[in-house]
């Protein structure tokens, strides 16, 4: 168990190192970070001085080393636009993003798991049919369109829910549904296929043959075993949710990291972009590490691999 944990931790650190390199490299894509960071009307002398000040004339690896040391201390430089440390700006908005992603995940799990189970147990019934069609549509629907349609119906036409901002629970409803639909669709399909597979196993037939009632067979025997792939995908889906928050937050003016980073890109505020990408990626890596560790409790066979 300990060996597994150590190996998994080392893996995560390696991934984060790679992430930091890519984040660092974003600024160097055009070859000259000074041109990326400075406004287009900067004079040649400004550019020269800025390069000197930021150390852009140093060898590439020296610059990366400096960036990495800064990143470890949470120092990504100052925001060009807000004149605040970029990391603080992003960190301030992280709770809003996590709130949104968390709510979306909650909705997804609350809808998808029952829907998937019922679909599998009552295969080819009306419920199965409806949930399959909804899941298919959900997987094919672009997030931003769904968001706009929800605003059109619930905010513009019915005036039931607010279309932008954060604060009350009402503010959370539309963005969370928008962000969560794709994940709901994915988990529904996965739960259904997982349950179908498990329900055909010998031990289920045995339980039924012994005269066990249907509900305990489904809930105790089948779901426990079908849960394993669901737990894995929850970790992966969190990545989808964090990434998807970029679009959802833009539509609903949700004050999170995603919206901040889109604005930062428009404003050419790259320290903020770097901090945001780094922080979101780190969140994702850490959550997946936690999921993997939890996983070993669900499925002890993993530890042996």
């Amino acid at each position: 168990m300990r060996a597994y944990l150590v190996r998994r931790l080392a893996q995560s650190l390696l991934v984060l190192l790679g992430v930091s390199f890519v984040v660092f490299f974003i600024l160097h894509l055009t070859g000259d970070p000074a041109l990326v960071l400075l406004p287009p009307d900067a004079t040649a002398q400004d550019i020269q001085e800025f390069r000197e000040k930021m150390g852009f004339n140093d060898p590439f690896l020296v610059q990366y080393g400096r960036f990495l040391r800064g990143a470890l201390r949470g120092d990504f430089g100052r925001s060009v636009r807000h004149d605040e440390p970029a990391f603080d700006l992003v960190a301030e908005r992280l709770p809003a993003t996590l709130e949104l992603a968390g709510a979306a995940l909650l909705i997804a799990l609350a809808l998808a798991i029952p829907a998937g189970i019922v679909s599998a147990v009552r295969r080819n019934s009306l419920v199965d049919y409806v949930s399959t069609v909804v899941a298919l549509l959900g997987q094919s629907m672009p997030t931003f369109w769904l968001g706009i349609m929800l605003i059109l119906v619930f905010s513009v036409r019915l005036s039931l829910l607010p279309s932008s901002g954060r604060g009350t629970l009402e503010h959370l409803v539309l963005p969370a549904i928008t962000l969560g639909l794709f994940t709901t669709a994915r988990i529904t399909r996965l739960t259904r296929s997982g349950m179908l597979e498990v329900l055909n196993q010998d031990y289920i037939r045995t339980a039924r043959a012994k005269g066990m009632a249907d509900p305990p067979v489904v809930w105790k025997h089948a779901l426990k075993n079908a849960a394993i792939p669901i737990v894995t995908i929850v970790g992966i889906e969190l990545g989808t949710l964090l990434g998807g928050s970029v679009i959802t937050e833009t539509i609903f003016a949700w004050p999170g990291v995603g919206r901040l980073s889109v604005q930062a890109i428009y404003n050419r505020d790259y320290p903020v972009v770097q901090a945001a990408v780094f922080l979101l990626s780190t969140t994702f890596v850490v959550v997946n590490l936690v999921v993997d560790v939890l996983y070993t409790y669900l499925d002890p066979r993993i530890r042996l691999r």
Partner: protein
């Protein structure tokens, strides 16, 4: 099960060719199986229809998708223009026919879709083949690279890179293409891992056939089936990403019509002109749904145990 692969194996064994070659017959069997899945067939029809519309766009509609006509701006669907022609889906805030723009908007979506899938598919195929066949250190390096790639919120990375390099068709294609190889590599790799142990590969090895030749002649044809399924389903994802990027203003730039860009315009007029945001979104939904249905059918026909 695997038309290209088994046909190659069958050819090697020189099965007696009757009226049609074995390869041909494999394809016929495959097509018959696929045709029996009505949803897959429906998906294929939608995809073909969108393709035809995109290619034949100038002949499909008589309206110009770019030329502005301010006097007839924000006309509701079905309104009649002064010239007597009908704006079937209405007009946008610059008086342009919405249907024409949707039809022309299929072009960048499909172009980015095909080109990006070609890049990431090829990249993933090569990395997956090498990783699975040689294993060891190479495999470790590629799989860690895959982990790093997956750790990024994809859309955020894409907009950061496009923000630095500036939005243009080649940049968008390359960014999406280069960052989507992981699924392909993983699927191909796991397929190669099992093919590697099969007798015909072992036999080729024993005969002293070089690795490159084994990979290309014996392993690759058998790994192509799952690859094709992944490519189809990935195409749907790429089209959504392309429209997301153009929705954020980082896609193909106006006045070229893009579905995402039209949605962004429509969002501004959401309270006065519902059709502006509704129809381009339906176009995306229908296209993506068609590809997904076809991809699901392809998977169930070719390789039911594949989980993508």
């Amino acid at each position: 099960m695997t038309p290209p692969g088994t046909s190659a194996a069958a050819r090697a064994l020189e099965l007696p060719a009757r009226a049609s070659s074995p390869a041909r017959r494999e394809w016929v069997v495959f097509l018959r199986r696929l045709a029996r899945r009505r949803t897959a067939l429906f998906g294929l029809c939608v995809v073909v229809a969108v393709l035809v519309l995109a290619v034949a766009a100038p002949w499909v509609t008589s309206w110009d998708p770019i030329e502005q006509d301010i006097p007839s701006r924000l006309q509701a669907p079905g309104s009649v223009h002064a010239s007597g022609r009908v704006h079937l889906l209405g007009t946008d805030h610059l008086g342009r026919d919405l249907l024409a723009r949707i039809v022309f908007g299929a072009r960048p979506a499909l172009l980015v879709g095909f080109a990006a899938v070609a890049i990431s598919g090829l990249l993933g195929l090569v990395l997956g083949l090498v990783s699975g066949y040689f294993g060891g250190r190479v495999d470790d390096v590629f799989m860690r690279l895959a982990d790093i790639q997956l750790a990024f919120p994809f859309i955020l990375l894409a907009i950061a890179v496009i923000g630095v390099l500036g939005p243009s068709l080649p940049v968008i294609i390359v960014v999406i293409g280069v960052s989507s190889w992981v699924v392909y590599a993983r699927v191909v790799r796991s397929e190669v891992l099992s093919i590697r142990e099969r007798e015909f590969v072992q036999a080729a090895h024993a005969l002293g056939v070089r690795d490159v030749r084994i990979l290309l002649r014996h392993v690759l044809p058998n790994a192509l089936t799952p690859w094709l399924v992944v490519a189809t389903l990935d195409m749907a994802r790429v089209i959504v990403i392309e429209s997301a990027l153009s929705f954020l203003g980082l896609g193909v730039q106006p006045p070229t019509p893009t579905w995402g860009g039209m949605l962004a315009d429509g969002r501004v007029y959401i309270s006065t002109a519902w059709w502006l945001a509704t129809f381009p979104g339906l176009a995306i939904l229908l296209t993506v749904l068609g590809i997904n249905l076809f991809g699901d059918g392809l998977r169930d026909t070719l390789d039911p145990r594949l989980t993508v």
